[in-house]
């Protein structure tokens, strides 16, 4: 059996190098094709009729006029009479037509009778939730009451982070066509290997009857794993239209109302410390909404990272509201609990008159990784010049622009998912690496090819990578930052299994046993003896007419040390706040993250830049505005759903924590941890600048001025 271990850090030739992503130029130049660009010959268009009401019972659906419209090929009722609609935007009916415009016209001709029912769409004021509030019960460790009594300093505060949306630039959707009894499926997905079976189940087809293709996806962030109602409907519309390809993508409004959101979290938090800064007790009463189904927050994460505080009491309530359901959003739970925890800890440090850096370091023993957090806090502090730039709460300098620093912490799992890879070595020397995986824009393509080039001793351009097709070996969905660990491990194992077969063929000619061969620099040679070698091509010619095709799998129960989970991270922010207008500007964000063995520091940094930018948007701008009067989301657009532009993000400094200690843990995912602490770091920097806590995000003019003016926050 080959030795699958990663080559030692110092002898890697391709892995660990700052390789520019392979599909970068294609994406930047518009050549890369997304499935929303795919329009096979004969494509017709599907459009959905959505409910305008947040809560209603369907009394009647009359599709007759729509069916008669010239150009309409199919009309389907999704929510027949009697159905109870639980959020605005819920799907009522679908139409397929020759053009998208005709389909829209047809949708407008469908007459729906609604019995409008009372709704609740906002959860920020828990007192209005009534029976919609579902408390999860209390969890206590230690003796919080005694700890608060004995404490030298107690702080109490209220913190809130609203529901935000995924805002994928490529909306959810797909093109689907029937070819006899099989289905050709072009979805926008994070789950190439799994989504075909999901659709097949809905269509009551054998799983293998659905063929999935996807080269690129324009954002998923956790919201694109399943085929969804619109996938199933597109397939059914296609079937009803003689199998013609049906293209059906959500418009922007439903994209931001029914295709997933990140739950809110609001919390009343009380916490205690000794005079010397030792954090002793935590008591939180939190609530949130994840939409009608309620969803949940893993309140057991509290207090985040500093979880080993000896005394804690946790109460959490999920509020069921008439809104579209939550979906995983880049590090589910973590950005929110990082925000409420790190804000409260920062306020406690302020009450102690203690530098929060000192406070977070002093209490590092309450984290699972005291040494890692301590070293990352120190590194980030160095990069943001904390020693010289930090000041106690409230910038006392003259002028209306106040500047401040803040910090926050994060953690994540990120062990590799189950993944299978096939490596084909052909007699002509060409090599294919095949996985039913996907590149969400993270650099997955690039790192797989780096691993293969490293393992096979070939240049990267000698490797042909095939992903994005469910006829390829099954690889996991890209969620939980599990992709890089999974695909790098399966690729490594598959490559070495194939190489072993090649060595068996080549060894006799070189006069050594196969296990004495190695593949380096485009040659197969006797270990350490370049003189006794064959070029890669000459070696492969020995295969005659046989192609080597070998599998490799990442077994999550035994990842062979190739990948693991568990990462940390510290972000620090430097902000300026105009105290007359409440406008917060980012000067700088420093991000220190570890992710074990880093296959490509450049694409890893790219992940962190993206994560930090999402954290900035959440800190400064993002909120879903649900309106009780109409039951609608009023800003389901990209105008009043505000996101940062380039000029809004300031300077981002990324430091990948690459050390032999982290490296020997193997590969760990990074996509999610990269975004977790940013928001809280910015909120703390704002509090440091202006001297008061803005309890509810985002840090927009309204919330900042209300906090400065002591107005109650709405």
């Amino acid at each position: 059996m080959p030795n699958y271990n990663w080559p030692p850090m110092e002898s890697r030739r391709v892995m660990g190098k700052r390789v520019t992503r392979l599909d970068g130029i294609q994406k930047a130049s518009g050549k890369a094709k997304y499935n929303s660009d795919v329009r096979p010959a004969g494509t017709i268009h599907g459009v959905i009729l959505h409910s305008p009401h947040a809560h209603a019972r369907i009394k009647s659906v009359d599709t007759s006029a729509a069916e008669k419209l010239e150009g309409v090929t199919a009309v389907r009722v999704v929510a027949p009479a009697g159905t109870e609609i639980q959020w605005a935007g819920a799907e009522i009916a679908t139409v397929a037509a020759r053009t998208e415009e005709i389909a829209h016209d047809a949708v407008r001709l469908i007459k729906v009778g609604y019995e409008v029912l009372p709704h609740l769409v906002r959860e920020d004021d828990l007192s209005k939730a009534g029976s919609r509030a579902k408390p999860a019960g209390e969890a206590v460790t230690g003796d919080p009451d005694a700890a608060f009594k004995q404490a030298d300093v107690v702080h109490e505060g209220v913190y809130g982070i609203p529901v935000i949306t995924h805002c994928c630039l490529e909306p959810h959707g797909q093109t689907v066509a029937w070819n006899g009894d099989t289905v050709e499926y072009f979805p926008s997905t994070q789950n190439v290997s799994g989504i075909g079976g999901d659709l097949a189940k809905g269509l009551q087809l054998a799983a293998g009857k659905v063929h999935v293709h996807m080269d690129n996806v324009g954002g998923g962030f956790g919201s694109k794993f399943a085929s969804d109602l619109w996938g199933l409907e597109a397939a059914k519309l296609s079937k009803a239209s003689g199998g013609k390809p049906v293209k059906m993508y959500l418009d922007r409004n439903p994209e931001q109302t029914i295709a997933g959101v990140r739950p809110s979290v609001y919390a009343k938090i009380k916490l205690a410390a000794k005079k010397d800064g030792t954090f002793t007790a935590w008591d939180s009463t939190s609530w949130m909404t994840g939409g009608f189904a309620g969803g949940g927050l893993n309140a057991d994460l509290l207090p985040y990272v500093y979880r080993q505080v000896p005394n804690r009491r946790i109460n959490h309530t999920a509020v069921s509201t008439n809104n579209g359901a939550q979906r995983a959003w880049r590090a589910p739970n973590h950005p929110q609990v990082s925000y409420i925890t790190c804000s409260a800890l920062d306020d406690l440090a302020a009450k102690l008159n203690m530098d929060p850096l000192e406070f977070f370091i002093k209490n590092a023993n309450l984290t699972a990784k005291p040494d890692v957090y301590t070293s990352q806090l120190k590194k980030a502090a160095e990069l943001i010049d904390w020693k010289n730039q930090w000041h106690p709460r409230g910038d006392k300098r003259a002028g209306v622009i106040k500047r401040g620093l803040g910090l926050a912490v994060g953690m994540w799992g990120g062990a590799g998912h189950a993944s299978q890879c096939r490596t084909n070595i052909h007699p002509d020397g060409t090599v294919e690496v095949e996985l039913g995986s996907q590149d969400l824009g993270t650099g997955t393509r690039t790192v797989i090819v780096q691993v293969a080039a490293e393992s096979l001793g070939l240049p990267m351009n000698a490797i042909t990578l095939k992903i994005g097709d469910n006829s390829l070996p099954v690889s996991g969905a890209s969620g939980g930052s599990t992709t890089v660990g999974g695909v790098s491990s399966s690729t490594r194992i598959s490559n070495l299994n194939a190489l072993e077969k090649l060595f068996e063929v080549v060894a006799p000619g070189l006069g050594v046993p196969p296990d004495q061969l190695e593949a380096v620099d485009g040659k197969v040679q006797v270990k350490g003896t370049p003189a006794k070698s064959l070029t890669w091509k000459a070696a492969c010619q020995k295969l005659g007419v046989r192609t080597i095709s070998e599998m490799g799998a990442n077994d999550q129960r035994n990842p062979r040390g190739l990948n693991t989970g568990g990462v940390s991270g510290v972000h620090m922010a430097d902000v300026s706040v105009d105290i007359e207008t409440g406008v917060v500007k980012i000067n700088k964000v420093v991000a220190v993250n570890d992710c074990g063995l880093v296959i490509n520091p450049k694409t890893a940094e790219g992940q962190v830049y993206g994560g930090v930018i999402m954290g900035i948007c959440s800190a400064l701008m993002e909120e879903r505005v649900a309106d009780e009067g109409t039951g609608r989301v009023l800003n389901a657009d990209m105008e009043f759903y505000k996101l940062a532009g380039i000029a809004d993000i300031g300077e981002i400094v990324v430091h990948m924590d690459i050390t032999p200690e982290h490296d020997k843990r193997g590969v760990v995912g990074l996509g999610e941890p990269a975004t977790i602490p940013t928001t809280a770091a910015i909120a703390n920097a704002c509090a440091n600048a202006i001297g008061v806590r803005v309890p509810t995000l985002p840090l927009n003019a309204k919330n900042v001025l209300n906090a400065l003016n002591g107005r109650r926050l709405a």
Partner: protein, 325 residues
């Protein structure tokens, strides 16, 4: 979007002949940066769309005996880069820059900005300009953080125009043509607050076209605008103030202070103007003028912060106007 007839006239007379007695008969297409969204969102559903960008007479920026004439279809970008405008009207340049999307500056027109429909999210979600449901305003008890602090009647939306506050401060007029003739209207009188359903937000009738903007010369006076923006990237100002100051030496002879994005019409703050007369602009005077400008504000449940923003905008616009180059 509902199907419509597309007309591409090359003369003003031809275009006017294509309009109807109701807004639903025909809409005008200039830059299309917003009209197309309104069509797609089914907020506008005209039978005909009349493109006026092929009408040469509606373009161009020229000097007149009393100031400047800006054609209605001049793009924001053309205005921003025009030497005549740059020489006298820093407030217009700054307002143009505030439309922080190169795509919109390249396509959007000055006439289109003046006739831009409100961004009110109730309006944009199909609840109408007055956002009424069962006889009650949805805005008053609803999500009104971006709405008027100077509401008029039931009109709680804010005028969306970027140029209007500066044009009102400058005393500009618009020319409006119909098949029967041409009329001139002060920009200050151009905006209306609708009192009931079906009324529009400007003094332009379904059969009329805004053809040009006439801006009196600003020689011997100073003008500036300050917009409070949440974002650097494309975004609507939360509040703005434009000022035009006729100077006598170092002191203000007369002043026009206009607030933007705080009411259904640009708000001419006469008290602030009076307060400034005869004074030199100092930080303190500017602060006082800001306070005077918002003295009559009637904020809603969620937009009290905009009173401060408008006040600060006045102060900063005044200080900007008298800033030594």
């Amino acid at each position: 979007m509902q199907a419509f007839e597309f007309a591409n006239p090359s003369t003003l007379q031809e275009a006017l002949g294509l309009l109807g007695a109701n807004y639903s008969d025909a809409n005008i297409l200039a830059g299309g940066t917003d009209e197309l969204s309104l069509l797609k969102d089914n907020i506008h559903h005209p039978k005909r769309l009349v493109n006026i960008k092929s009408i040469k007479a509606l373009g161009g920026i020229t000097k007149t005996a009393t100031g400047l004439r800006v054609g209605a279809t001049v793009t924001v970008d053309d205005l921003m880069n025009n030497a005549l405008v740059r020489a006298e009207f820093p407030s217009l340049i700054s307002a143009a820059r505030g439309i922080s999307s190169p795509q919109i500056r390249n396509m959007g027109t000055v006439g289109g900005d003046l006739t831009l429909r409100p961004r009110c999210w109730y309006f944009r979600n199909g609840f109408g300009l007055l956002a009424m449901k069962e006889g009650k305003s949805l805005v008053v008890d609803g999500q009104n953080e971006y709405h008027a602090i100077f509401p008029e009647g039931l009109a709680y939306y804010v005028s969306a125009s970027s140029f209007a506050p500066a044009l009102v401060a400058l005393g500009a007029k618009v020319k409006i043509a119909s098949a029967t003739g041409v009329r001139e209207v002060e920009v200050a009188q151009f905006f209306l607050a609708p009192k009931e359903r079906g009324q529009g937000e400007s003094d332009i009738k379904p059969n009329e076209i805004l053809t040009e903007i006439l801006i009196p010369s600003a020689k011997g006076s100073k003008n500036a605008i300050y917009e409070v923006r949440q974002k650097e990237a494309l975004d609507w100002p939360l509040a703005a103030a434009a000022v035009s100051l006729r100077m006598k030496g170092n002191s203000v002879e007369s002043a026009r202070v206009v607030l933007g994005h705080v009411g259904p019409r640009p708000v001419l703050a006469e008290a602030a103007g009076k307060l400034l007369a005869g004074k030199s602009i100092t930080e303190g005077v500017a602060e006082e003028a800001g306070k005077a400008a918002v003295a009559g504000a009637k904020p809603l449940s969620n937009n009290g912060y905009k009173v401060q923003l408008a006040q600060v905008a006045v102060k900063r616009a005044l200080l900007e106007a008298v800033k030594k180059a």
